[in-house]
Symmetry: C2
Subunit: 402 residues, 2 copies
């Protein structure tokens, strides 16, 4: 009940933050603020919609776990039909593997030799668990260092799937489409422990283009680059087994392309305020907001009130959170009040400012870095207003940056 009554006698021992499991079975009112809350009904509907989409279009899907960093949610996604998950970081892969997720793709470049040793060791460990590790590369040095790390494993027989990342318009990682990708595929092909698995072709910039037309044009260019690159690699005698990519903003386009075989969206599970601003492509399922910051009003004045959630509670890289329409929130706006505070104003539509101690629910601008601020997600069944805490989901790889 009272954490400060249980302070350990050893002042050097770090008390774990309360895991929150004592909330299970209680109503939402029992959730201390600020807290990150998942509407489990909405999340499961989003998951079902994605699974049905993939099944209908005959696509593999491998959701990006950089969103939730949770082994439990990764396993839930795999039970719903996902072939595995993507991660961005070696440490994320290690922690999800520990949590029972045995098909993992590090869809990012790893260059440091010490980190590649960890990648190789994880590939071996996953093999022992009848699982599989994959990774992306975009440089000759990256391929060669990976091959060295795999060759230095104490046991032989482990291999790793390697995707060549091409830049299909994002302007971040990836080699240029065409010849440079062929050279990397050929290099991968030289190393017995590396299996050339295909192309990583994710267009991050296209995900947040607001009109459906802009997104169609961007993905059409990506598809052209992928098609040309695949032809060149196969002309060099190397089969391209799979093209993988796509995010929540565009995946129906990649699915319709005929050349992508695997979809990597992550955000669909929780849907943030930023994605909700996209003009919807009718070919995509409609997803619901499922992730919320519960916050209480701690200070009031004539023109505004202050809530206890600032940007240590939610990321603001894609804009400030929206106030959920519950409890009159539709007529309220959130302004940045710093690390620990949010400033709430009533809009001209005549919103009533909430009273001291009242609860508001915020819809984060961007889910991924918001989840990364929290050690746990409080899963609620039956809605935010009258629901009950059903489970507490650990964010296993929170802060797993390396």
């Amino acid at each position: 009940m009272n954490p400060s009554m249980k302070l350990p006698p050893d002042s050097q021992a770090r008390p774990a933050l309360a895991p929150g499991h004592e909330l299970v079975g209680l109503g939402v009112a029992a959730i201390d603020t600020p807290a990150l809350v998942v509407d489990l009904d909405a999340m499961e509907r989003n998951l079902t919609r994605m699974a049905e989409f993939a099944k209908k279009h005959g696509m593999r899907w491998r959701p990006h776990a950089k969103l939730h960093k949770s082994a439990a949610l990764a396993r839930l996604q795999m039970q719903a039909g996902a072939v595995g998950v993507c991660v961005q970081k070696t440490a994320e892969a290690e922690l999800l593997a520990t949590g029972g997720v045995h098909n993992i793709y590090i869809s990012n470049e790893v260059i440091a030799p010490a980190k590649l040793e960890r990648v190789a060791a994880l590939a071996q460990w996953l093999r022992g668990a009848s699982g599989r590790l994959a990774i992306a590369v975009d440089s000759m040095q990256g391929v060669q260092r990976l091959a060295t790390a795999m060759a230095n494993l104490p046991e032989t027989g482990t291999s790793i799937d390697v995707f060549v990342e091409i830049d299909v318009g994002q302007g971040r990682c990836g080699v240029a489409p065409g010849t440079p990708a062929v050279a990397l595929a050929q290099e991968i092909d030289q190393h017995p422990a590396l299996v050339f698995a295909g192309l990583q072709a994710y267009h991050g910039g296209a995900q947040h283009l607001r009109t459906a037309l802009e997104r169609r044009e961007a993905i059409a260019r990506a598809v052209a680059a992928v098609t040309q690159t695949r032809q060149q690699i196969e002309a060099a005698g190397i089969p391209v087994a799979l093209v993988t990519g796509a995010g929540t903003g565009t995946f129906a386009l990649e699915a319709a392309s005929g050349i992508y075989g695997e979809l990597q969206p992550g955000s669909f599970l929780f849907m943030d305020a930023d994605y909700a601003q996209n003009e919807r492509d009718p070919a995509q399922p409609q997803f619901e907001h499922a992730l919320f910051v519960k916050t209480d009003v701690i200070s009031t004045s004539a023109g505004h009130v202050v809530c206890d959630a600032g940007h240590k509670s939610h990321a603001i890289d894609s804009g400030l959170p929206r106030v959920h329409e519950l409890h009159g929130g539709a007529a309220l706006t959130y302004s940045n009040g710093g690390d620990e505070h949010g400033i709430i104003h009533a809009t001209a539509l005549g919103g009533r400012l909430p009273a001291l101690g009242e609860t508001l629910w915020l819809i984060p601008g961007h889910c991924d870095p918001t989840v990364n601020l929290h050690d746990r997600l409080i899963g609620v069944r039956g809605g935010l207003e009258h629901g009950t805490v059903e489970r507490v989901i650990r964010v296993d790889a929170r802060g797993a940056l390396t």
Copy 2:
């Protein structure tokens, strides 16, 4: 050596992130990226400058621990002369208390009755440790609920210091100066377990005004409001023992005011890129950057390179990080590459783009929420270029939001 070789057999058990203590004694090259690194020499010089300033001006200082959230650094500050620390959250107070910090001021409002029970319990616990807890209030209801929580403690004899927060220009929490503050002081005075300790008068907005003149004018208005309010409270027969406030941008002004008795700056210890953009007040000590993100280049192309630190490694609420001048970084710029990537360009000044695998050091835009992304700070002695890891500092209250 190899974390993935030590995966626990129980897949449900969460492995702790490597605490990092194995780095002690090794050179900076051994620090895996991205990582948050403290230049201990620079940090200690900043601490000495602050301590000397406070001593010279006869001021109490109570640095804000929302910056570092570390019991070890809080104790270091108290060894240097600080009377205690400020925090913003009850959970921060609990975790720092557990870490041996026994004089804590929650410089923020707490309204939820369950949380006020924790505040009261912590006050009692700190009393047992010969320490002291203080808190801010800005509402009658807040005072009355706090009094109820204190009255409900199982043992009698515990009291808590209560500061009335007045809004001196920030437009966030706090009652208006003058009469509303008198009413709160009178109410506090009615409750035997509450000790009216003075005024909380922090002008957050003034800290980041760029010119010294703007900051002087803002703090002059704050000082006028404080002076008037103190006079009114004392005219009502209640002594105002202390006025507390000030941050890294303005504390020399509050120190010179003759009415503030305690300074609360936090950021001076690490100095972020944002504060460094302020025109310096000659009356303030000059502080150095002491907090850095170590990052490696993981992808290169003709026009840019990509490093492995994105906004899951550093907060961007006060702007993107700057590239440290080391290793030619002065001619490089950092652009946002998303959650896990940074995009580095050479400036027109003719900077050389770093090679694959090279290290860069970033100066975060805002230290407080950057530290909150990390479980530990790697303390380096002897500089970032040739230094050695001396200690690993735990961020005890990382994610302690409630």
